[in-house]
C-alpha cells in the first residue's frame, strides 16, 4: 500500500447522499479477475449523462471527491475503492461513510475523511464557485485546508499510523502468529470444519 501523508489536489463536488457501491462501480464491471483497470467504469451509469459533474471539464484531474452522507453504502465490493483509486482519487470527503467501504479504503490507501455536513457543504460551494480549487489533506496534522477553510478531522490512531507508513495489514497481524497458534490450540474440537 502506498503511504498517505499529505495530498494536494483538485476537488470535485458530488452532491448526493447515500451513494451506493452499485453506482460507484456497477456489478456488470466486477467480472475482472485483476485488481486494476476499474477506473473507466467509475460511476459508469451516471457518466452517461453529459451533465454529470465528473464529465465537467472544469473538474478534470480531480483527486479529491466531496460528497454526501453514507457514501459507499451497499455491497462490500472493494472494486468501488479500486475504481476510485484507478481514476486518480486519493481522498473522499463526506459527512459519513458506510462501514465496509470505509474499511476497504483504509486497506487500499484511499483516505476517507469525515467532516461535519456544513463543512462539506462549504467546501462543495467553494469548489463549485471556482472549479479547479485545490485542497490540501494532511493526515499527519489531520486537517483539510483550502478555499479559505481549515477543518480538522478525526481518525483512529492505528489506522492513521498504518496509512502514514503504508503498512500491509497481513504483515502486522502475522507478528501475532504465536498468539494465533495458541488460540487455535484452545478452540474446542467440536467446532465445525469443512473438510
Amino acid at each position: 500500500m502506498q503511504p498517505y501523508r499529505r495530498h494536494r489536489g483538485r476537488a470535485v463536488p458530488l452532491d448526493r447522499s447515500d451513494v451506493d457501491t452499485d453506482q460507484i462501480i456497477p456489478a456488470e464491471h466486477l467480472r475482472r479477475i485483476e485488481r486494476t483497470g476499474f477506473g473507466p467504469f467509475l460511476f459508469a451509469a451516471w457518466r452517461k449523462d453529459p451533465s454529470f459533474v465528473l464529465n465537467d471539464p472544469g473538474f478534470e484531474g480531480a483527486t479529491i471527491l466531496l460528497t454526501g452522507p453514507n457514501f459507499g453504502c451497499g455491497s462490500s465490493r472493494e472494486h468501488a475503492v479500486w475504481a476510485l483509486e484507478d481514476a486518480g482519487f486519493r481522498t473522499v470527503i463526506a459527512p459519513s461513510f458506510a462501514d465496509i467501504f470505509r474499511n476497504n479504503c483504509t486497506k487500499v490507501g484511499l483516505l476517507p475523511v469525515e467532516l461535519p455536513a456544513e463543512t462539506v457543504r462549504a467546501l462543495m460551494a467553494a469548489v463549485e464557485a471556482e472549479p479547479g480549487t485545490e485542497l490540501t489533506v494532511d493526515l499527519e496534522a489531520k486537517t483539510v485546508t483550502g478555499a479559505g477553510i481549515l477543518a480538522t478531522f478525526g481518525i483512529d490512531g492505528f489506522t492513521r499510523w498504518r496509512l502514514l507508513e503504508g503498512l500491509d495489514d497481513i504483515g502486522l497481524s502475522l507478528r501475532h502468529e504465536r498468539e494465533i497458534e495458541a488460540y487455535e490450540r484452545a478452540r474446542p474440537a467440536r467446532l465445525p470444519t469443512v473438510g
Binding site: D15, R16, S17, D18, D20, D22, Q23, P26, A27, E28, L30, R31, R32, I33, E34, R35, A45, P69, N70, C73, G74, S75, S76, R77, E78, H79, V81, S96, A98, D99, I100, N103, N104, K107, V108, D156, G157, F158, D169, I170, L172, S173, L174, R175, H176, E177, E179, I180, A182, Y183, E184, A186, R187, P188, R190, L191, P192, T193, V194, G195
Partner: protein, 471 residues
C-alpha cells in the same frame, strides 16, 4: 503485545457483568488485544465466492503465503452463474475458472456449478449446518449478516480482508457499538419476515445502524422461523449495520440438529450447553435501543432507490422530501400520490439470499397454487441453492410455479444483481424479493420494487401490487 494469553472464553465462566450476545461472541474470539489497536479476531468460518476472491488469491501468491485454514474455508459459485441454459459469458467463465484453480491450488473445498452443494453462499452455509451459534463468520459479501440469525457474529468484508483471513484466519476489527432493535407483539396476518425488516429500515433509515452490531429481539422476532430470522438479519446491512444477530433458542437448535456439519452425540450436548449461555444477559446495556410495535407492521413495498424508501402496500408514493427523493421518483418514473396497488411491474423475481430459501418458495407457491401469472408479465423463481431446488421439487412446488407461468431456474444470485444473464432491460419494472433497489441494481435502467415472496406472488397474479388477500 500485552502478554495476555489468548483463550477461547466459555460464556458460562465469563465475568459477572451482564453482557450482550454480541459482546460474548466477540470476547471469545479475541486473539490479540492491545491499547490503541483494533482487536485481532479469530474467524471460525470463511465463505468464498468467485467475484471478490481472485485478487485475494493473487495477493497470497505474490507474497508466497498459504491459506492458513483451508478446513475453515468453503467456496461456491453464485454471483455470476447463469441460472438457465444458454451461451456462457466468457468473462464470467474466466472468473469461475479462476475460483476453481485457486481452490485446487490452495486446498479449499468448492461447490461449483453442477454440484448439488452449489448455491448462494448465504444459503449453503446454514443448510450444511456450518453456520452455528457463537461463531465468527466472514465473507466478501455484505449479506454475510444473514448468518447472524443463528447467534453468530457474521459480517461482510472487502477483498483485502478476504486475503487477510485466508492468510491468517484472523481479522483486525475495531469493536462497533451495540444496538437492540426490539419488535414486540404479534405480527398481523400476512406480515412476513421481509416486512419486519423493511418496516425496520423504513423507520431507522439506510444509515440507522452504521457502526453498530444489531441484535433483533422481542416476541415477534422469537416467533420467526430460522428462514425468517435469516431474512431479517440478511438486510441488516441495508440499514448500514455491521452485523445483525438473533439469540439462539430452541428454534435454532431444532433447525441445526441432524445437519451434515452440526455436532453429534456428546458434542451436540456440549454445544447446546454452550449455545444456551450465549443470549444477552438480563440487565446488559446496549449503546442504542429501538422498539417497534409489531402490530403496526404491514406488508411493505419500496418505491424509491434505496431500501429505506419504502411504504406499506396500502400507502401511496410519497411527496418528495428532499433532492434524493426527487431523484429517486424521477428514476422510478413515479408520481407522488399514486397508490402502490396502481403500480404495474412487468417482471417478478423470487429468489436471492434474502428470500430464496425453501420457506420463501412455499410462501409464494401457496399464493400461486391454481392461479396464473398475469398476461404479459415475466416471472421467475430462482432457488437459493440446488438443494433448495431439489427439496422444492420433492414437494411439487416446481409444478405449482411452472403451471402458474413462472420460469423454474437453477440456483444463483440471478436477478438480485445485474452481473449474470438475468437482468432487467432499461425502463423495466420489477417486484423483487431481493434486498436492494439501487439504481440499475437489476440491470442498467431497471426499476426495482422490493417486497416479500407473498406480495411478489400475488402481484404476479394481479398484474399490479397486491397482497394474497386481494386475489
Amino acid at each position: 503485545m500485552d502478554g495476555r494469553a489468548p483463550v477461547w472464553h466459555d460464556a458460562r465462566t465469563m465475568p459477572e457483568r451482564p453482557r450482550t450476545l454480541a459482546e460474548k461472541v466477540w470476547e471469545r474470539h479475541v486473539v490479540h488485544r492491545a491499547d490503541g489497536e483494533p482487536d485481532l479476531l479469530y474467524v471460525d468460518l470463511h465463505l468464498v465466492h468467485e467475484v471478490t476472491s481472485p485478487q485475494a488469491f493473487d495477493g497470497l501468491r505474490l507474497h508466497g503465503r498459504r491459506v492458513r485454514r483451508p478446513d475453515l474455508t468453503v467456496a461456491t459459485m453464485d454471483h455470476n452463474v447463469p441460472t438457465a441454459p444458454g451461451p456462457e459469458d466468457p468473462i464470467s467463465v474466466r472468473q469461475m475458472e479462476a475460483l476453481r484453480r485457486n481452490c485446487e491450488a490452495f486446498g479449499i473445498t468448492l461447490f461449483p456449478t453442477g454440484h448439488i452443494g452449489q448455491g448462494i453462499v448465504h444459503v449453503i452455509g446454514p443448510q450444511m449446518g456450518l453456520t452455528q451459534p457463537g461463531l465468527v463468520i466472514v465473507c466478501g459479501d455484505s449479506h454475510t449478516s444473514t448468518h447472524g440469525a443463528f447467534g453468530a457474529l457474521a459480517f461482510g468484508i472487502g477483498t483485502s480482508e478476504v486475503e487477510h483471513v485466508l492468510a491468517t484466519q484472523t481479522l483486525p476489527q475495531q469493536r462497533p457499538g451495540t444496538m437492540a432493535i426490539t419488535v414486540e407483539g404479534d405480527l398481523p396476518p400476512g406480515v412476513t419476515a421481509k416486512d419486519v425488516i423493511l418496516g425496520i429500515i423504513s423507520r431507522i433509515g439506510t444509515g440507522g445502524g452504521v457502526g453498530h452490531l444489531v441484535e433483533y429481539r422481542g416476541s415477534a422476532i422469537r416467533s420467526l422461523s430460522m428462514e425468517g430470522r435469516m431474512t431479517v438479519c440478511n438486510m441488516s446491512i441495508e440499514a448500514g449495520a455491521r452485523a445483525g444477530m438473533v439469540a439462539p433458542d430452541d428454534t435454532t437448535f431444532a433447525y441445526l440438529e441432524g445437519r451434515p456439519h452440526a455436532p453429534t452425540g456428546k458434542d451436540w450436548e456440549a454445544a447446546l450447553d454452550d449455545w444456551r449461555s450465549l443470549p444477552t444477559d438480563p440487565g446488559a446495556a446496549f449503546d442504542r435501543e429501538v422498539t417497534i410495535d409489531a402490530s403496526e407492521l404491514r406488508p411493505y413495498v419500496s418505491w424509491g432507490t434505496n431500501p429505506g424508501q419504502t411504504v406499506t402496500i396500502d400507502g401511496v408514493v410519497p411527496e418528495p422530501v428532499d433532492a434524493a427523493a426527487e431523484r429517486a421518483l424521477a428514476y422510478m418514473a413515479l408520481e407522488p400520490g399514486t397508490p402502490i396497488r396502481d403500480i404495474h411491474p412487468d417482471t417478478v423475481f423470487i429468489g436471492s439470499c434474502t428470500n430464496g430459501r425453501i420457506e420463501d418458495l412455499r410462501e409464494a407457491a401457496a399464493v400461486l397454487r391454481g392461479r396464473k401469472v398475469h398476461r404479459g408479465m415475466r416471472a421467475m423463481v430462482v432457488p437459493g441453492s440446488m438443494l433448495v431446488k431439489r427439496l422444492a421439487e420433492e414437494e411439487g412446488l416446481d409444478r405449482v410455479f411452472r403451471e402458474a407461468g413462472f420460469e423454474w431456474r437453477d440456483a444463483g444470485c440471478s436477478m438480485c444483481l445485474g452481473m449474470n444473464p438475468d437482468q432487467l432491460s432499461p425502463g423495466e419494472r420489477s417486484v423483487s424479493t431481493s434486498n436492494r433497489n439501487f439504481e440499475g441494481r437489476q440491470g442498467a435502467g431497471g426499476r426495482t420494487h422490493l417486497a416479500s415472496p407473498a406480495v411478489a406472488a400475488a402481484t404476479a397474479v394481479a398484474g399490479h401490487f397486491a397482497t394474497p388477500e386481494d386475489l
